[in-house]
């Protein structure tokens, strides 16, 4: 059984740069407090490293789409050719080279569909609920770290953020 958790407070610290935010995340990992969310105006590879994030699994969706696309394109061309088995231009009814081109274009098309499906699935888009939850606390041009702590450690966490370069802290 997990130990019973007491009431918690969430603190959002705003940092002026990716470097400072990443540094604060690394320091947070050495404490008992957890990082719940990081908000940033640009993709931050240093933040990703500090959070030790795994690579996104979107690639599997993309790959699946591509494989399905190739066979769909090739099968469409072959199926339609077999409906009326006409010899055109002296080529076999099911011609590998031209049908490969159709297969290639479908590979790209379906891989992109897979990519978009992966994006929607993994990011849980559209996420209007998440927007409503975070909206009052967001600052579109600063790096925010949302961390939680037991109620009695609220002051310590705010002090920790300030010590690591936070320009502002908000109790969420």
């Amino acid at each position: 059984m997990e130990p019973a958790m007491g009431p918690e407070k969430s603190i959002l610290g705003f940092f002026p740069s990716e470097d400072r935010a990443a540094h604060a995340i690394l320091a947070l990992r050495g404490t008992s407090w957890s990082v719940k969310k990081v908000l940033s105006p640009v993709p931050g590879p240093k933040i990703f490293d500090a959070l030790n994030l795994r690579k996104s699994r979107i690639g599997y969706f993309t790959l699946a789409g591509g494989v399905i696309g190739f066979f769909t394109g090739f099968a469409l061309a072959a199926f339609t050719a077999l409906q009326w088995e006409l010899i055109v231009g002296g080529k076999p009814v099911v011609s590998l080279v031209p049908f490969f081109i159709v297969g290639f274009e479908f590979t790209i098309l379906f891989a992109v569909f897979g990519n978009v499906a992966g994006l929607i699935h993994q990011m849980k888009l559209p996420d209007y609920k998440g927007l409503v939850e975070l909206d009052p606390y967001r600052d579109v041009n600063r790096f925010g770290i949302l961390s939680s702590c037991p109620l009695e450690e609220e002051g310590s966490l705010i002090a920790f953020f300030k010590e690591h370069g936070a320009e502002e802290t908000i109790i969420v």
Binding site: P41, P43, F48, A81, V102, I108, Q122, P126, D127, V140
Partner: protein, 438 residues
């Protein structure tokens, strides 16, 4: 590095979305009038029949196919800038990537109209869709024309999805900085983007895959367009260099169009700090490269015709350089292969008015390239008895005017309603973060 803060970048780009001036509405009205001329010309052609165009026997492919190839070509540099240069980590492309992607979307839409127009009986378009007609006949997927239908449809779909996905973080910025109806619309279309690390983690990966998929696609699309010609036996078309030659030509014309669009946009919307002369200079340097490739392809075609000693092939190329359409041929050679060489001079590259003039001339040259390739080849076929000439009619000029007007009309609507410079990518090169695909 732009030397601008995140707030300054947002303010600069969002200022372009403020209510437009009277001059903007005048431009909208003029361009819309051009669109109406095009639509009217097309309606007239549908009513009277495709015979009102100048296409004839033997020149059955005229300005409609010329414009089709031209607009597909224009589309290509958008993908070069947004996808290929992204993969190469060329961050100088960031200020112009959004506009170039938008240009791609609009150019492919317009290109896609021309096969419809060329059909004459446009309601027969379903013959190109993968559904059987009344006699249970399906499309012939061995035909390069069907490759084209598949390739262009894929390109349009992928370009739109890439463009929209790339814009998501910026749509959220607009949402956060607007009120009323605009806020509601941007809330809806930004799909609840908040910029959390989880969103960025998936987004950067997806963007990288988009770029990786768009790169082979863009090369394949214009290769397929070139095969519309090269897989036929017509002299002047039946050549193996067409695919790389067309791809290079497409990027050449597209880059020129990027400059043609970005110089006025930069001036009108005060983007001088974002789209610096250095950015335009880098586009100009790329034009030198594509111009050299295109010039080499022109020379190679002539060499192959001469070295083969094939009289039919030799006659086509003699006709191009010294026949009825020789002025068009020399405009093509000068504008596409010789003029870009002046961009080797730094003073030319750094002069915005000269660069603007050069970009327009390259566009004209690239239009003539398609005219020369298409018309001189079918007009000078194997049998002298079947030789013929072609000149566009007023209806074709009307439709062409309509297509150019529609392109610029859509573009000026875009710059007033959506962020025309990617704020996120500009912030990335202002010293924070390291790129979408990292």
């Amino acid at each position: 590095m732009t030397g601008m803060t995140f707030q300054e970048i947002d303010a600069r780009v969002l200022k372009t979305l403020e209510p437009p001036s009277k001059r903007y509405w005048i431009a909208v009205t003029l361009l819309f009038s051009g669109v109406l001329v095009g639509a009217g010309s097309w309606a007239y052609q549908i009513y009277k029949g495709v015979g009102v165009a100048g296409m004839n026997n033997p020149v059955a492919w005229g300005t409609y196919l010329i414009n089709f190839v031209f607009w597909v070509g224009i589309a290509h540099s958008g993908t070069l800038i947004s996808a290929i240069l992204h993969l190469l980590r060329a961050s100088w492309r960031n200020p112009i990537a959004r506009a170039a992607e938008t240009m791609t979307v609009f150019a492919v839409c317009i290109a896609g109209l021309f096969p419809f127009i060329h059909l004459g009986r446009v309601w027969m378009v379903f013959y190109m869709l993968p559904v059987p007609n009344q006699r249970n006949l399906w499309q012939n997927f061995q035909s390069p024309l069907m490759f084209d239908v598949v390739a262009i449809s894929t390109y349009l779909t992928v370009s739109i999805l890439f463009w929209y996905t790339g814009m998501l973080p910026d749509l959220a910025v607009v949402r956060d900085r607007s009120e009323g109806l605009r806020k509601k619309i941007f809330t809806l279309i930004s799909l609840g983007w908040t910029g959390t690390h989880e969103q960025w983690r998936h987004y950067t990966r997806a963007y990288l895959f988009f770029a990786a998929l768009a790169t082979p696609l863009v090369i394949s699309v214009h290769s397929v367009v070139s095969w519309d010609f090269a897989l036929g036996i017509v002299p002047g078309w039946h050549t193996t260099i067409f695919a790389p030659y067309f791809v290079a030509g497409a990027i050449h014309s597209g880059l020129a169009m990027v400059i043609t669009l970005m110089i006025p946009v930069r001036r009108i919307f005060g983007y001088e700090k974002l789209i610096t002369p250095g950015v335009l200079e880098n586009v100009a340097k790329t034009i030198i490269l594509t111009g050299l490739i295109v010039g080499f392809a022109y020379a190679t075609e002539f060499f192959m015709a001469w070295y083969s000693q094939n009289p039919v092939e030799m006659e086509v190329f003699r006709f191009r350089a010294a026949g009825h359409y020789a002025p068009g041929f020399w405009i093509m050679v000068f504008c596409n292969a010789i003029l870009p060489l002046f961009l080797f001079l730094k003073s030319v590259r750094r002069s915005i008015p000269i660069l603007f003039a050069v970009s327009i001339l390259i566009n004209i040259g690239m239009w003539f390239e398609r005219f020369i390739i298409i018309v001189t080849s079918v007009g000078r076929d194997f049998i002298p008895y079947s030789w013929g000439l072609y000149s566009p009619t007023l209806v074709e000029f009307g439709i062409m005017l309509g297509s150019f007007s529609l392109f610029f009309f859509l573009f000026i609507l875009f710059v007033k309603h959506l962020p025309s410079v990617s704020m996120t990518e500009m912030k990335e090169i202002s010293g924070h973060g390291a790129g979408h695909g990292s």
